[in-house]
Amino acid sequence: MFNRDRWKEILEVLTSNWFRTVLTAFGVFWGIFILIVLLAAGKGLENGINADFGDIATNTMFMWTRRTTKPYQGLPKDRSFEFQREDVRSIRDNVPNLRFISPRNQLGGFSSGGNNVVRGLNSGAYNVYGDYPEIINQDPMTVTSGRFINYNDINEKRKIAIIGQGVKNDLYEKGEEVLGTYIKIQGVNFLVVGTYKKNSSDGGEEAQKEIFVPFTAFSQAFNRGEDVGWMAITAKDGSSISVLKEKIINVMKKKHKVHPEDNRAIGYFDLYEQYNRVESLFSGIRWIAIIVGTFVLISGIIGVSNIMLIVVKERTKEIGIRRALGESPWSIKKQILMESIFLTIISGMTGIIFGALIIYGINALLDSVGPVDMFLSPSVSVGVVASALTALVVSGLLAGFIPANSAIRVRPIEALRNE
C-alpha cells in the first residue's frame, strides 16, 4: 500500500492529463461540498429555532378554562368555571408520569392594561405571576441575586417578589440596592428578595419584565381564593405530554362537571406537539440534505468511474506490456482501484475543506452582523465528516471496480497487437 513506486505511478497517471483529472475530481468535490453545506445549513436552522425555544421544558402543556358549550348534569351551557388549587392533587392522583404540575395566576399582560406596579415615583406595567417553586424548571431563568420562591413562602403566604432585569432597570436607579426594598403591586407591598434573567430569546425584552410572587400570597393579596388561572404541566422524560394530555383534560372535565364531549370548555396549548412538529421538519430537512448531497455525489462517482474506464482503454497497450513483463493481474487491479480511491479522496477532502471554510465564513459573518432570526451557528458534526470520508473510500472502490475489472480482462496478446 505505502509503496513509493506505486504512488509515483498513481501521481504520474493522474497528472499526465491535468485538465481531465481536475474536471473529474470536480464532480466528487461538488457532491461532498453540497452535502456538507446543506447539512450545515439545516443544522443552522435547527440551532436557530432551538435557541428560540430557549431552555423551556418542551415536554410541557398549558391548560386553562373557558366557557362550557354543552349543558351537562343539570348545568347550563355558557357556564364559566375556574380550576381550583386542589385540582393539582386530582391530576397528580389520576395521571401517572407527570413531573411538574404548576398552577399559576397572573396579573397584567392580557388580563389588564395600565400600570400595576409602583415604587416611589416610578411605575410600570408588568406581568405578575403567582407561582410555585417548580415553575423555575418549566420556565427556566437564572437568579442573578437573592433567591427564588420556596415552600416556606408558599406555606406562610409571604408577600415577597422576584423581579426581572427589565423591571429593575425601570424602577431602580443604576447601582441602587434592590434586595430588601418594597414594590407596590396593585396597592399591596411586596418585599423584593431576588432578581432574575432569562436566556431565551423569545419574548425578548418582555421576558425580562416579569415579577414572580408566591402563589398563596398572590391569591390572598388579589382575592383569588382557591382559583387557578392556568396550569403548566410537564411530563417525565420518556413519556409524552401529548399522550397524557387527553387523560388530564378528562380528569378536569369530570371534576368540573363538563360534558365529556365538550371539547371547547378547556383550552390548552401543547408545546411538545409544536416542538415535535418543528423537530420532524428538521429531520425532513436533514434527509433532503443527505439525499440531494448523495445524489450529487453519486453522479460525481459515476464521472470518476467513467474517466477511469477511458484511462484503462487508453492504457490497454501499456497494461498488455506490463502483463507480458510479468505483472500479476491483481497488481494491475490494485493500481486502478488505488488511482480511483486516491482521486475520490483527494477531491472529497477538498470538498470537505471548502465546505468547512464556507461554514466558517458564514459563522464569522453571523458573528459580525449579530444574530439573525432562525439561523444560528451552522455546523456539521465530526461524525458526519467521518462518515462522508468512509463513503468516499467505498465509492472510490466502487468507481474503480468496473474499470479495474475491464483492465484485467484485457489479454496481453490482444493488447500488444500492432494494428
Binding site: D5, K317, I321, A324, L325, G326, E327, L416
Partner: protein, 233 residues
Amino acid sequence: MIEIKDLHKSYKMGSNSLHVLKGINFSVEEGELVAIMGSSGSGKSTLLNILGMLDGSDSGEYYLDGVPIKDLSEKKAAQYRNKFLGFVFQSFNLINYKSALENVALPLYYQKVGRRERQDKALNYLDRVGLKEWATHLPSELSGGQKQRVAIARAMAAEPKVLLADEPTGALDSKTSYEVMDLIQKINDDGNTILVVTHEKDIAHMCKRIVHLRDGVIVEDTKIEQVRAQEYV
C-alpha cells in the same frame, strides 16, 4: 530448454475456425540462437505467443526448462513470464511516460527487487546496450534503434531463461537492424537462449539455426553457419 510436442492451435473467426498451428514438434537447447521464419499467416507469431505464454494452445505439450506449461492461471502465467521469459517486440512497446531506466527496471519491480538494487541492475543493463547516458530520457526522446536496445535491456534485466524476439528489426532500417542483431548475438555469446521471429533472410542468417514454418507446420529445420552482424556495422 524448450520442448514442444504436437502443438495445435486454431482461432475461431465467426462461424468457421482457422487452424493456425497443425502439430508442431520442436525443441531448443540451452544457448541456441534460433530464427523462426515464414511468410505472414504461417503461424510464426502464434507460435511465439504460445511460447511466451501470452496465448494458450488447444492441444499438445510444452515444457519450458522442464516445467510443464499447461492451463496456467493468469497469476501463474504472469509469474512464469516474469521468471522465465524476456520479450522484445517489433514496436518496442516501451512505456512512454517512464524513462529508459524505469522501463528497464520494470520487470525487476515485478520480481519485488528492492529499489536501490533495481536501479543499479537496470543501469548496468543499460550500460551493456550502450545507453547509460540515456537513462533518464523518455522513449520519445530516443531513436528507433535506441528504443529497441532499451527494450532488449528490459528483456534481459529479469535474467530470463529464454529471450523471445518478435520481428525485433521489423521497424528499423538495415543499419540499425544489424546493430540490434549484433547486440542479440553478443547476448547469445554469453550463453543465453534466444528465439527470433523474422521474415528477413539476412536477419535469419545471423542466427545459428533456422526453422521454417509454412501453413502451420515446420517444413525445414537446419543448423547454419552464423553470419556475424559485426561485419556490417
